[in-house]
């Protein structure tokens, strides 16, 4: 190993680490607000990457069908819930808007030839298709059991993850996909040559992190989410609806996942089931941050990226083992420092 190889490995680890950090942030966000361990987080990444690939190869975007289907279920659930609560038939506006949006992405996805439109249009449409999945999944699968024990929430999250993988196979097929890089140029940085896509990944991750920080620190919605994460009951007493908090956090998680998918799709082959392993590395970061500290989790995720890159160089057959073994000392240290965590209920 020489300096140049170390530099390239470091840069490679940085790229994956940046993505893991984003996923770790959204996992913590959703967990602290709703107590849901968001196992399907990786699916947002793969779905947006595969949607981009479908558009670029001129195939119709069929993911809209899933969005529309879920939106119809959510609409029906809302109408029934309203009926039970107020004894009259009303159509809640949010879910009607989501259903209309679902119809819009189905229609557009199946008819418009996106391969002739620019990259920005494609990115915009991929976000429009994937991001609504966040609130819809929350509405359909988690909202009815929002107060269930976290173990139940975890089981439902796993079930949703398995169902989404199956749906992904049906919608996107078994083949892996790659998209066109944003630009082909390379940047010469000292002795290392860096593909511009790598800079895109790191830049977008950094920008999203800053944006999230601003959102939580300055906006009313962000403060409401923080309140809900800090003390659920207290937040409810001052008028922050848990449904609103859950829906917003899932929307953010879907947005982060979708953006990650769009930026990594040009540098790797993504399969319909690639998401799990990516989000698992995010989980490792989140656990290093004790499922509560954003900066520590981000740092942990970056470390995971580096550990992965260098351990792959030394012993590629054992790299996953090395990465996941990293968890052991962290967990040990955590449990020594906080001996009585108790149940999280």
């Amino acid at each position: 190993m020489n300096g140049q190889i170390a530099l390239m490995l470091g840069q490679d680890g940085m790229t994956s680490g940046a993505i893991y950090a984003l996923l770790a942030l959204s996992i913590i966000l959703v967990f602290s607000v709703t107590r849901i361990l968001l196992v399907p987080q990786g699916e947002f990444v793969t779905f947006s990457a595969l949607t981009m690939a479908a558009m670029q190869s001129g195939r119709p975007v069929r993911l809209g069908v899933l969005v529309f289907g879920l939106a119809l279920v959510a609409l029906a659930m809302d109408i029934v819930a309203e009926r039970q609560r107020h004894r009259r038939w009303t159509v809640p506006r949010t879910s009607l808007a989501l259903a209309a949006h679902g119809l819009f992405v189905v229609g557009l996805g199946l008819s418009v030839p996106f391969d002739h439109l620019g990259l920005l249009v494609q990115i915009g449409f991929a976000l429009l298709t994937v991001v609504p999945l966040g609130p819809l999944i929350y509405r359909v699968f988690f909202q009815p059991i929002a107060s269930a024990p976290s173990l139940v929430l975890l089981m439902v999250a796993i079930a949703v993850h398995v169902a989404l993988i199956g749906g992904g196979l049906l919608i996107f097929g078994p083949e892996g996909a790659r998209t066109e890089p944003f630009s082909d140029s390379v940047v010469q940085l000292g002795p290392a040559i860096i593909a511009s896509q790598t800079l895109w990944v790191i830049g977008v991750s950094a920008a999203l992190t800053v944006a999230l920080w601003l959102f939580f620190e300055t906006s009313l919605w962000g403060k409401a989410l923080r309140a809900a994460a800090f003390n659920r009951l207290g937040a409810e007493l001052v008028g922050i609806s848990p449904v609103f908090a859950g829906r917003t956090s899932m929307t953010l998680a879907a947005l982060i996942g979708a953006v990650s998918g769009i930026v990594v799709a040009p540098i790797t082959t993504i399969y319909y089931d690639s998401g799990f392993l990516i989000s698992l590395k995010g989980f490792v970061g989140a656990i290093i941050g004790a499922m509560s500290s954003y900066p520590v989790a981000a740092l942990g995720a970056l470390m995971v990226g580096q550990a992965e890159s260098f351990s792959t160089f030394w012993a590629s057959s054992y790299k996953e083992i090395i990465v996941f073994t990293l968890l052991l000392p962290v967990l040990l240290w955590r449990s020594l420092r906080q001996p009585s965590v108790g149940d999280d209920e």
Partner: protein, 382 residues
């Protein structure tokens, strides 16, 4: 990473009866039409309706099951087919690890098994159990010999290897070492990756730092693309070889410009236009592709032809087996096994089969061509 994907276990088996139940020969088909190797399994499952419907005056009924790429589910599917449906033979499963797990069960119950898997360890070394197994793909050793002879011819002295960390990569690491040792080529690097890895930069750098004259990539399906594009990205300038696992249209589509000049060995099905008409396999392959395209609107991957060939092998073995007993009896199944083993000069979509008690793959070099990629297409290597 099977240990990390316990969820796959919970995927239910999709059961589909392909034709109505009639008295006659019952053939089970087990494919991995979902899960990690669905790319291999889907064309195989889709080929079932194109298999022969009658043989020796008996109708053939196919019972098709999906094992979701999970070896445990393969065992369950085999048990169901053998114990409940009482099938006379089984075509499948799609994956090498899946196949290795059910050989014992098939042999115990005396059910011939036609495995469309890549790994030669399904039929080699031949023993009392494996004599029930027939393999409808080219043996890895045969492919490796062809690739290594090309390396020798073009003056390659050192070779690096990167393969998947599963049975496919393991087998290829072994056959490459054997073939290279026999021809005096040194294997200087051996790296592994998993299909879902998002970056292979580290492996690519490690191999490049050993600067081998050529690199062989041992990976099935579209996972064969990322190692090659990574090698190009990190500035590797030697020759890149691929196994028959990369012989797919997907490989060209995903790899684009970066896989130009790749050398691989695969069935002639990929370059039918360039195959001379005297090659007996050509007509069967052309007909198969046309029928498949009519049914599904896309061309089949070569994996589908492995199942078609299994059907053709059974079609010619059934009349002989009928002399030994009625379908559904152990005598018939034993007769079927003997008849399969006695297959001589049977033309399939991928080549000509000549089975012997020692060789249950039965391919010779007629089923294999050296191919290269140029202008975004596979071509015969001249």
């Amino acid at each position: 990473m099977p240990a990390m994907r316990p969820l796959a276990l919970s995927l239910a088996l999709a059961v589909a009866l392909v034709s109505p139940a009639l008295a006659g020969v019952k053939i089970g088909v087990v494919t991995s039409a979902s899960g990690p190797i669905a790319l291999v399994g889907i064309p195989q499952k889709n080929t079932v309706p194109l298999l022969p419907k009658t043989a020796g005056g008996e109708t053939i009924e196919y019972i098709s099951l999906d094992d979701a790429s999970d070896p445990t589910a393969t065992v369950t599917a085999f048990k169901k087919l053998v114990l409940e449906d009482k099938v006379d033979a089984i075509i499948g499963p799609s994956g090498s690890p899946n196949a290795l797990g059910v050989i014992g069960f098939a042999a115990e119950n005396g059910v011939p098994m036609l495995a469309p898997v890549g790994s030669a360890s399904a039929v080699l070394p031949m023993d009392a159990k494996k004599k029930w197994v027939f393999k409808t793909t080219q043996n890895d050793g045969l492919v490796a010999d062809l690739l290594v002879s090309h390396m020798v011819k073009t003056g390659v002295k050192t070779v690096g290897f990167i393969g998947t960390s599963d049975a496919y990569g393991d087998t290829w690491a072994k056959v490459l070492k054997d073939a290279a040792k026999a021809k005096g080529i040194a294997v200087v690097a051996e790296e592994r990756f998993t299909r879902q890895d998002t970056s292979l930069m580290a492996q690519g750098l490690k191999i490049t730092s050993k600067s081998p004259d050529a690199v062989l990539i041992g990976a099935p399906g579209s996972s064969s693309v990322l190692p090659e594009t990574t090698l190009v990205d990190v500035g590797y300038h030697g020759k890149i070889y691929q196994t028959h696992g990369a012989a797919l249209q997907e490989f060209l589509k995903l790899g684009g410009r970066k896989v130009e000049g790749t050398i691989l060995a695969g069935s002639g099905m990929l370059v039918l236009d360039e195959i001379p008409d005297w090659n007996p396999a050509k007509k069967i392959a052309v007909d198969y592709i046309a029928a498949y395209q009519k049914l599904y609107g896309v061309k089949p991957a070569t994996f589908g032809a492995n199942v078609l060939d299994a059907g053709l092998l059974l079609e010619q073995a059934i009349p002989d087996a009928l002399k030994q007993g009625k379908p559904g009896t152990p005598e018939f199944r034993a007769g079927l096994r003997d008849a399969l083993e006695a297959t001589k000069e049977l033309v399939g979509a991928q080549g000509v089969y000549n089975m012997t008690p020692e060789d249950h793959s039965g391919f010779d070099v007629r089923g294999l061509e050296l191919l290269t990629v140029s202008g975004g297409q596979f071509h015969l290597l001249k």
